[in-house]
């Protein structure tokens, strides 16, 4: 799960996210990024709020990308940490399935983190191949 942003000069930034929660109305998402690595991402979001989030399964490269606009930005609450730990365990399991040690993946720093709430504008199929980039209708 990767978060893409860009600065005022349209220079892009990419950062691995460490958890996601779908909002109750299903048109907003909260994405968690590690605070220690997020300086550029946060500066970009303060400048323009544009976001691309790409979800890709390690095991089969099935990928979707959504585009949206930042709604709010805050430090994650303590009760949101469990969600990130579940994400990390699942990610470590995926890496393990393709031959990597869980121990390595479990060292990914997930805390403290920043919660980015965004409104989803568009959803695209992004699995490598001729269909990549196709808009998924009704997805957002």
């Amino acid at each position: 799960m990767q978060v893409g942003t860009r600065d005022k000069d349209r220079r892009p930034e990419v950062l691995r996210a460490v958890g996601v929660a779908v909002g109750p109305d299903r048109s907003t998402l909260t994405v968690y990024v590690p605070a220690e690595l997020a300086a550029r991402t946060l500066a970009n979001l303060e400048d323009n709020g544009e976001l691309a989030i790409t979800f890709s399964q390690v095991i089969d490269h099935r990928t979707v990308q959504l585009k949206g606009k930042l709604v709010s930005l805050r430090r994650s609450r303590r009760n949101e940490r469990a969600l990130q730990e579940r994400w990390l365990a699942a990610f470590a399991e995926q890496l393990h399935m393709v031959g990597f040690s869980r121990r390595l993946a479990l060292r990914i720093r997930i805390w403290p983190s920043i919660a980015l709430e965004l409104e989803v504008r568009d959803l695209f199929a992004q699995t490598p191949g001729p269909g990549a980039g196709r808009r998924i209708e009704g997805g957002a």
Binding site: Q2, V3, G4, T5, R6, D9, R10, R11, P12, E13, V14, L15, R16, P34, E36, L37, N48, E50, L51, A52, I53, T54, S56, V58, I59, D60, H61, R62, T63, Q65, K67, L95, V98, G99, F100, S101, R103, L104, A105, R107, I108, R109, A125, Q126, T127, P128, G129, P130, G131, A132, G133, R134
Partner: protein, 463 residues
Amino acid sequence: MTLFESLPAACFQGVIPAFIATCSVDGIPNVTVLSQVFRLDARHVALSCQFFNKTKQNVLENPHATVQFYDPVDFTAYRLELRYERAETQGPLFDAMALRIQVIASHTGLKGVFRLLSADVYEVLACEKREGFLIPAAADEAPEAVDPRVPQSELRCLHLVSQRTARAPTLDALLTALLEALEESIGFRHSMVLLPDETGSRLFAVASRGYGDEGVGAEISVGDGLIGTVARERRSLRLSNMNSELRYGRAVRASVQATSGKRELRAEIPLPGLSDAQSQIAIPLLACDRLMGVLAVESKSALGFDEWDEAFLDIVGNQVAACIENAILRERSDEATPATATDAGDAPAASVAAPGPRRRFRFFPSDDCVFVGDEYLIRNLPGRILWKLLRAAVDGGRTDFTNRELRLDASLGLPGLRDNLESRLVLLRRRLEQKCPELRLVSTGRGHFRLDIACGVELEEVV
């Protein structure tokens, strides 16, 4: 040396997927998965472009890109700031990248669908380690062992290979010596040599090590898979993370099927050799402009081989190709030499109506296939040769033969110039060792051999 130059080569083998972020001219960021980042020189990387996607569209409008990628050994994350420079659609870089994609396309049944459009070259503006991406390892935690091989000096390896292959008296002995030396000196435990058949359109494994009984006789079409592609293109190739590359290919395959369901895709081609190979190198064995065969090695480790291994095998391959050609020419030129007692060694005397169990051999002329009992033994030219030898032994009581008479026998259909009789006899000898040890082809001098039969023989031609 900059950080970028000093990054371990493993970072550029695509083991853990990398991601690239770009931005459209109207300010919308885009993030997508990358199959591999190639380090070109101290200031450039190349990314493969298989489809004209949003990333490509963006960098043509706005050349800035950022890539996050990982060292697969310790999972350290790195960040590259890039500026798109150019797309190459021909030349050595394009050819090298296209070849890798052809192999994956071939294995996943995507020939012609999944191909390289361009090798996109980016300038590296900045490279940094993502400090804080990982929680530091505990002090008592040992790093994971990735490569169990113990490297020895390059010279020693070459010396051993060179010595053994140069001294091998026959093609058979040469191939055995080569694979033994590769394991002993450098730890390549799974290796095979494939030689072209008489049509030149297929390759068959004539010697293998580390595959049990199943290696010898395996076949692959020229142009198919890693080995077939290397044979067709006559260029060596190393794949370092087969699983990951094949997963990428399969993702494309699923995507092709989803977007154009009616399109008929070819079936996936099973990889010859290990079912769980993670790394492979295949080297064309070229003597002048002739393809003598392909040398392939495999490893179960994703980072089993590096550039050095490929370069080393290339050197070995050059030498071995010449040795194979010499061995074949030597065996051929000595065909007129009569058999001597010394050559025959201590091989037991031949007998046709030998005591012991009877074995039934069946020949299927439609595909020149020979079965022993109910088990497949061999087919094509070596099948025809075996049948001729068995007929001569059973009908005429004859067990001594020469390569020359096989060569002159029109019914066997050996191609004229540059036939491959020697390599086919090596394959026949090895298949007999594995599947029917009661029959042996024993050399009785250069170009002469005897069929030893230690069982009763029953022949049936299935029309």
